[in-house]
């Protein structure tokens, strides 16, 4: 009975999971980056989250089964300014004591009128979930691929720096997030 169950499980994995596994990529974390740009006092700057994990199921010919699932360690924020990072992790901004991680998962993919691929998903950041659209650029190179995704967010949609820091002339409301991932099988 145990043996039969074992075979059944194996068969299930082979029949159902294998097609999904075929398009699951491994992310080369060391060569991937999650960066963002924003403006502080009218001067643009770039920051990054040094630690994030991404599960990428993607085949450009099979968008129906594509899925991105990304978890970001917000405490790994680095804007190359120690004071700014310290403030940004505090309660007025990311509030990492309560919300140490952000989570993004796609809900569907489609091809836009200009031929580009767009992913719709949900971003949960600082305890707030909002729909977010990703521009997807995927370029396979043999057994590897690069995946570039771009999202345009409003920090105030997620309550980051609301209240006394809300003034967008001091801290821009628009944030462009860019993920550059190196993938391999």
């Amino acid at each position: 009975m145990k043996v039969a169950l074992g075979w059944l499980c194996t068969a299930a994995v082979v029949c159902f999971a294998a097609p999904a596994l075929a398009k699951t990529w491994q992310v080369d974390a060391a060569r991937s980056a999650l960066t963002f740009t924003n403006a502080y006092q009218g001067v643009p700057y770039t920051g990054q989250f040094r630690r994030f994990t991404a599960v990428i199921d993607y085949d450009p010919k099979d968008l129906a089964h594509a899925k991105f699932e990304v978890t970001v360690d917000i405490t790994s924020l680095d804007t190359q300014n120690a004071e700014r990072d310290h403030t940004a992790l505090g309660a007025d901004f990311f509030d990492t004591t309560k919300f140490p991680r952000a989570y993004f998962v796609t809900t569907s993919f489609h091809q836009a009128a200009n031929g580009k691929i767009v992913a719709d998903g949900t971003l949960t950041l600082r305890g707030i979930s909002k729909p977010v659209m990703l521009d997807v650029a995927f370029s396979p190179q043999g057994g590897a691929a690069t995946l570039d995704v771009t999202a345009r967010l409003k920090r105030l949609d997620f309550g980051i720096g609301a209240g006394q820091w809300a003034d967008p002339s001091m801290i821009g409301n628009d944030v462009t997030v860019h993920g550059h991932l190196l993938l391999h099988r």
């Binding site: 006092q41 009218g42 001067v43 190359q80 300014n81 004071e83 700014r84 820091w165």
Partner: protein, 189 residues
């Protein structure tokens, strides 16, 4: 009002530079000393931005002042002024010129090494001197900025003290020719 300096007194342009920079230095000292202990609020960010903008203004004015001064006559020292006093006055003046360049520059350097934003009164961005965050030079730049400030304070005590001494004890023209230029009766004004 003479634009240019003469042997009898400073011209209106150099006097304007002198008093404008003096007023801005006084404002910078008050702002600089009171902004550091402020709690992290938007007000603190604005006060820091103001300090940076005034500092860059002083740097620009100092450069213009020095360039103008190069082509100017220097009013003559009062008759009978001892040699050591002339030497001390020259040394203090030269060091003050150095400091009105070096203090804003060290602040700009510290700001650059901190990777902090810099936009002159929010109007246009001023480039970084270090090309981004530099944790090695950041504390050195800050220490330089602070040390030079205290050197400035010490020299200003001497500078202001000497000016008042000339005016009230020696009763000569040294302070007057920086306030109003040369005496009217000597054909100035």
């Amino acid at each position: 009002m003479r634009l240019r300096s003469t042997e009898a007194g400073w011209g209106v342009l150099l006097r304007t530079f002198h008093w404008l920079i003096a007023a801005l230095i006084l404002a910078q000292a008050v702002i600089g000393l009171s902004m550091v202990p402020m709690g992290v609020t938007p007000a603190k960010v604005r006060v820091f931005a103001l300090h940076k903008s005034i500092g860059m203004t002083i740097l620009a004015l100092a450069l213009l002042r020095i360039a103008w001064r190069m082509g100017e006559k220097r009013p003559v020292d009062p008759a009978g002024m001892p040699r050591w006093q002339r030497g001390a006055a020259r040394a203090v003046h030269l060091t003050l010129y150095f400091l009105i360049l070096a203090i804003p520059l060290s602040g700009w350097w510290f700001n650059s090494a901190s990777n902090a934003p810099l936009a002159w009164f929010g109007l246009f961005p001023i480039p970084s001197l270090t090309g981004g965050y530099d944790p090695v030079w950041k504390p050195r730049a800050l220490l330089t900025h602070q040390m030079l400030f205290w050197v400035l304070v010490a020299l200003l005590v001497a500078h202001v003290g000497a000016a008042l001494w000339h005016h009230f004890v020696q009763r000569d023209d040294v302070l007057r020719r920086m306030l109003v230029g040369s005496r009217e009766r000597n054909g100035g004004g």
